[in-house]
Amino acid sequence: MRVATGGPGKAAEFWARRGTIVLGGLTVASLAVLVVLGLFVSDPDYQQGDAVRLMYLHVPAAWIAYLAYGVTSLASALYLWKRTRSPAWDTLAGASAEIGVLFTGLTLVLGSLWGRPVWNVWWAWDARVVSTAVLFFLYLGYLALRRVPADPAVRARRSAIAALAAFVDVPVVHFSVEWWRTLHQKGSVFNRELNPTIQGNLAWALLSGVFAFTCLYLYLLERRYQLAVMEEAIEERALEAAIAERRAEADVPPVRVPS
């Protein structure tokens, strides 16, 4: 996956690029299908009217957020496990977490936009909403930790442990918030029935949304990963240049200080 300079790397690079283009094309096409299905083909909901169309974005975004965190955790675990340790897992974990945070934020914003016409509020203290918000901050912290400059191996190990520590927290957060809302106010307005059994063209639109967003996730992940690899290469090169410069300095005759 490193930037290849020739030989067999060239062919791999060619096919990797070809794969990216295909994936990108698939993403654009499936998003176009989603637009058509979501905006024109699917019927408005009998209760929510056209507001239900936000579901085709909101639910896939939430799915991608979970998928992305799952990938981050898996990659972190693979990094920590000695037999599979490779810096590539660390890079993948970071790339996936970034996309995860992006889509968690998107889920919250879309949910808020959806909540306004349906629940009449921008924000409801619903269990899922709250646990998603906690998730958002958990991984924002993880990304902040990743950005702290350190030796790559140290940073990778530290980040991997932080990712797993955050990941094991997710079910606890989920249950606590779920109980909080159910033990505390039974039969709230914001119950789960807002998600009626989906059928017909609504289901197809939702399915196409999930597919399109999954393609988008894979595409973004691949791009972000490559970007990270290039960033690392630049860093390495800058370091080498700086070392060369220092070496050259030593060869320069000392400057005479006028007395």
Binding site: V134, F137, L138, L140, G141, Y142, A144, L145, V148, A150, A153, V154, R157, R158, I161, A162, L164, A165, A166, V168, D169, V172, V173, F175, S176, V177, W179, W180, L183, H184
Partner: protein, 234 residues
Amino acid sequence: MSVEGGTTGPPGLARQVLLVAGKDLRIEARSRVALNQVLPFAGVILLLFAFALDPDRGLLPRVAPGLFWVAVLLSGLLAISRAFAVEGENGVRDALRLSGLDGAAVFCGKALAVAAQLLGLEVVLGFGVVVLYDLHLHNLVVVVVASLIATAGIAAAGTVYGVLAAGLRVRETLFPLLVLPVVAPVMLGATRAWEAALNGAPSEAWPWVQLLAVFGVIYVTMGWLAFGPLLEET
């Protein structure tokens, strides 16, 4: 790895835990940072809550459990930061690494010291909410058990994230961001357990106490496994 002379091996795990906890508590007893800074800080938080919510006699007692735990968390952050700041001075961290103590024991010792300080903080803050917010304590057993388990959870999670952030230049700002979302369930569980106990429905508190226990077990295990490698490399 062994004590000089070689006749005695390294001390047992429990002894190692107590050594580390004793070291931290001794530093605390001598420097009095928790007593002179963290505790007054917690008191100020209690005052500020009253200012923000208007000491209307009806509102404060009702929200007191939540305010209590927020105050514990915020001042606890300072205590945990402090527990790792002392490692940064005079190369203590290197000394700890070279001491041959088990990473898990260092974790438990530090968490134990933090928990002891948090408990002291909670006693004083509890006294504060009773006096200042006019809170009436009932079902003390439930309250105490919930608080003990919650404290263990906060101390364990705080110690895991404390060592993650320790030694970083941005640790003061990064540490709260890392640890507060993680301990959100503790805050929620402890508050609800207190509320249930104080409202005379202690049976409703037990699910929360169980949740707190699960959280505590998860982070103690996490710290047990991860602390050694983190201490080695950061």
